[in-house]
Symmetry: C2
Subunit: 314 residues, 2 copies
């Protein structure tokens, strides 16, 4: 039998859905809009309806589908219940039970979306072939996911992998969304990198290729300038690499995965970014040369559906 | 049947051995000297001989013993092999296979001693009733152990729980044994606390009760003075608490255990020490009030034999 599994990644704007073989091949992928009105009560019915239609259209019989997994943008309790999910309007519900009912009893599993994406990268992405990885997602914010023995480590209070809020910078004056100051996210997210560049341009009155972008400079602009050898942009990225290397060293000495997988929009800078981090990471892990390596994520925005599908195989 | 298990904690001076019920009651405990000469070749035969004699003397039949566990002062590979164990003179051997053979085929399990002690505290100590704990041992150095789902997380390179070498203090000028600078161990170990006090006495020419100890001041002296309200000693402990709170916050946002268990000689200061750490820890974990708590270890030097015995039940 050709066993299949379904991966669902619920975002604030669209829900991504994929049908996979049990071996991890993505067969079909599509999206449905996320209808957030009325407490997001239509989201799961829309998803279920869409899955039923597509399976029929693709000629996939229900008995070939082992189950579905779902990444949810918020904390998910071990029983699958969600207390509050701000981006979707959900409150006190159990989306995995509800979706299973809507899909005629199909087994449905769920997890926090950052953790699920990490599982996806372990299964078929930058962490393929490894059983223990820590994924670091450098996007608008900084997210993370810890995978131990091919399973998500969610933590007892849902805080495992919340590495964007690891405190790294004691001299930071501005507050982070979490209420703290000096979080990794404040310096290593796309937003943080851009802010760091603005600060550097204000503080140092030296010529820099970054100037032409002014206050609207993006992380990509900074990285492009740095790659072209712009001195101030290189200094900014050195600061970013310093704090990322520091946080990864702390994580290495706590869970010691086989590899760190670096993803998110900022990671499109590729090996250049890895090199920027590696130098500082090596400086901070002096106890042993035999330590977790750094590698790039490869699944991009599909990591969520891959990981969700992998959940259904657990 | 009264099922028993044996816990062995191999130290550089003595080997501690305990016989436990499978429910975790310590029935008998004794020590044998660690004979390190000739590459430590007598250590395991001595242990085996002693166990056989004692079991006979206590009237415990071999069939009641489920197995033995062993804590080893160095990195232990997943198959139980040890590349090098400086304190014992061991090189390239598999102590758990050897001891099993010496004990007539009794199942023997092994692990790094700090990790094994953490397992002991989870089983019958400060972490009793929890499945996920991180233990922090504040002794001559700072050690640690991460227990997830009642199992040791050793890490893929043996670095998990090496929290004494988490970098926390960027302004540190002296080097740590690991070759780094600013490790947690440099400020939060007994040695580190005493050094911090000497530095404080040198830097500030204010009267302090610590003065009478001079350069031979110990961590216990510092803690005693702080408890009595000495201002400079309180400042020293506030610095120590700051860096411990910082490291624990980083660990909380990585693995999020149910509880941190604080042990080692320094933890004899009791709730006073917990309070010193808690204040800073709370400041560094602002993302959620629902987070791992802090508690004291309760097994003292017996944590190793408890954890080793628990290994035999895995």
């Amino acid at each position: 039998m050709n066993r299949k599994c379904i991966g669902i990644d619920i975002g604030g704007t669209t829900v991504k859905i994929g049908v996979f073989t049990a071996e991890g091949e993505l067969l079909h992928k599509w999206e449905v809009p996320t209808r957030k009105e009325e407490g997001g009560k239509n989201i799961l019915p829309d998803v279920a309806q869409s899955i039923k239609e597509k399976l029929k259209a693709f000629g996939i019989p229900a008995e070939e589908v082992l189950g579905a997994g779902m990444g949810v943008p918020g904390p998910v309790m071990p029983d699958g219940s969600v207390e509050v999910c701000v981006n979707l309007g959900w409150k006190n519900k159990n989306p995995q039970e509800e979706l299973s009912r809507l899909l005629g009893g199909m087994p449905v599993f769920s997890g926090n979306d950052a953790n699920v994406a990490a599982l996806g990268e372990m299964w078929q992405g930058g962490g393929k072939g490894y059983r223990d990885i820590v994924m670091v997602t450098l996007g608008t914010g900084v997210g993370g996911g810890v995978i131990i023995d091919e399973k998500i480590l969610a933590g007892r209070h849902g805080l495992a992998g919340e590495i964007g809020h690891i405190h790294v910078r004691s001299e930071e004056k501005e507050y982070c969304n979490c209420g703290g100051r000096g979080c990794l996210e404040q310096v290593a997210s796309a937003t943080g990198i851009a802010r760091e560049a603005r600060r550097a341009m204000e503080a140092k009155k030296v010529p820099t290729a970054m100037e032409k972008f002014g206050s609207r400079i993006s992380a990509k602009n900074v990285l492009d300038c740095a790659k072209e050898g712009d001195q101030l942009a290189l200094e900014v990225m050195d600061t970013v690499g310093h704090y990322l290397g520091l946080a990864l060293s702390q994580i290495a000495l706590t869970v010691d995965p086989e590899v760190f997988v670096i993803g998110g929009g900022v990671s499109r800078a590729g090996q250049f970014l890895i090199d920027v981090i590696q130098k500082h990471y090596d400086d901070f892990v002096t106890i042993s040369a035999n330590k977790p390596g750094l590698t790039l994520a490869t699944l991009g925005n599909d990591a969520g559906i891959y990981g969700a599908a992998r959940l259904a195989l657990s």
